[in-house]
């Protein structure tokens, strides 16, 4: 059972992702609705994995990812976005994301990606 931090400015997306994660047997230890909260939540809850939306208001997911990886280079982050442009995916991976998921996604797909990333060293 892994500890997961969900980051998304949409309350209903956080709700759905929480449902999927918990049905998959993992624990959601915290949620954040803003990229600026990510580092604090990561320090407080020490999750095994973070799911992070890219399009957020105050600080987008890519900037939040950069901040997180700078302090925690081994953090496992799965980026989630409505845009699946190759250039955006490559940028996220370049900044340290372990995987990228395009909305809409099937619940099983999210769990598959989470399992694969958790299994990585």
């Amino acid at each position: 059972m892994a500890k997961i931090l969900i980051v998304d400015d949409s309350a209903i997306m956080r709700k759905n992702i929480r449902t999927i994660i918990e049905r998959g047997g993992h624990e959601v230890v915290a949620e954040a609705s803003d990229g600026r909260e990510v580092l604090t939540q990561y320090i407080n809850y020490k999750p095994d994995l973070v799911t992070m939306d890219i399009n957020m208001n105050s600080m987008d997911g890519i900037d939040a990812l950069k901040v997180l990886i700078k302090t925690f280079p081994d953090a496992k982050v799965v980026m989630i976005s409505a845009q699946g442009q190759k250039i955006q995916v490559l940028e996220a991976i370049k900044q340290g994301a372990k995987s990228y998921l395009v909305k809409p996604f099937e619940p099983d797909k999210l769990l598959e990606v989470v399992q694969k990333v958790l299994a990585k060293p």
Partner: protein, 175 residues
């Protein structure tokens, strides 16, 4: 003033993504004749999304309330009460609008077009009219009412006030 080739292609992608997304949720959306307007009544719940960069303008997704309630039930993975469905439906329409807008950009090679957070308009008496350009509309019909995608092009900075004006119709009359 019509749409450029690029804007036309993007709007077609938006409409296709919208129909495709509803189909994915098991909702058959029958396309209706599209058209160009300078004034149009909106459905009950509308998401406005500003587009900027290589494509400039405003996208609107207007949804009949009955359809919005159905979308909420289908979108939320947990079983939810009628009260919760009513509470979530605006956020669900906002998120679906976000997904459709983003998906429609996926075939662009460069990351040169950006979109803002949805602004939600909840009114069964709202109209939209554009200042100096005509907007494009692609309506769809479902068992639970209509769903309409609009695109309003803007040749300059896409400020909301330059793109459209909202008027609340009095007793069904236009303004």
């Amino acid at each position: 003033m019509g749409l450029s080739h690029e804007e036309q292609h993007y709007f077609q992608c938006v409409a296709a993504c919208a129909a495709g997304y509803l189909d994915r949720l098991g909702i058959a959306a029958e396309p209706q004749p599209d058209g160009r307007f300078d004034r149009k009544c909106l459905e009950d719940i509308t998401a406005f999304i500003q587009i900027s960069g290589a494509i400039q303008g405003g996208l609107l997704f207007a949804v009949d309330k009955r359809l919005a309630l159905l979308l909420a039930r289908k979108f939320i993975l947990d079983e939810i009460s009628d009260e919760e469905t009513e509470r979530y439906m605006v956020d669900v329409v906002a998120e679906i609008a976000n997904i459709i807008t983003g998906n429609a950009l996926s075939d662009r090679e460069n990351q040169d077009t950006f979109f803002g957070q949805p602004l939600m308009i909840v009114s069964d008496r709202a109209q939209v009219h554009t200042q100096s350009v005509t907007m494009q509309a692609k309506p769809f019909l479902t068992d639970k009412g209509a769903f309409v995608c609009f695109f309003i092009p803007s040749g300059q900075m896409s400020q909301l006030a330059n793109i459209m004006a909202m008027n609340i119709a009095q007793d069904g009359e236009g303004i």
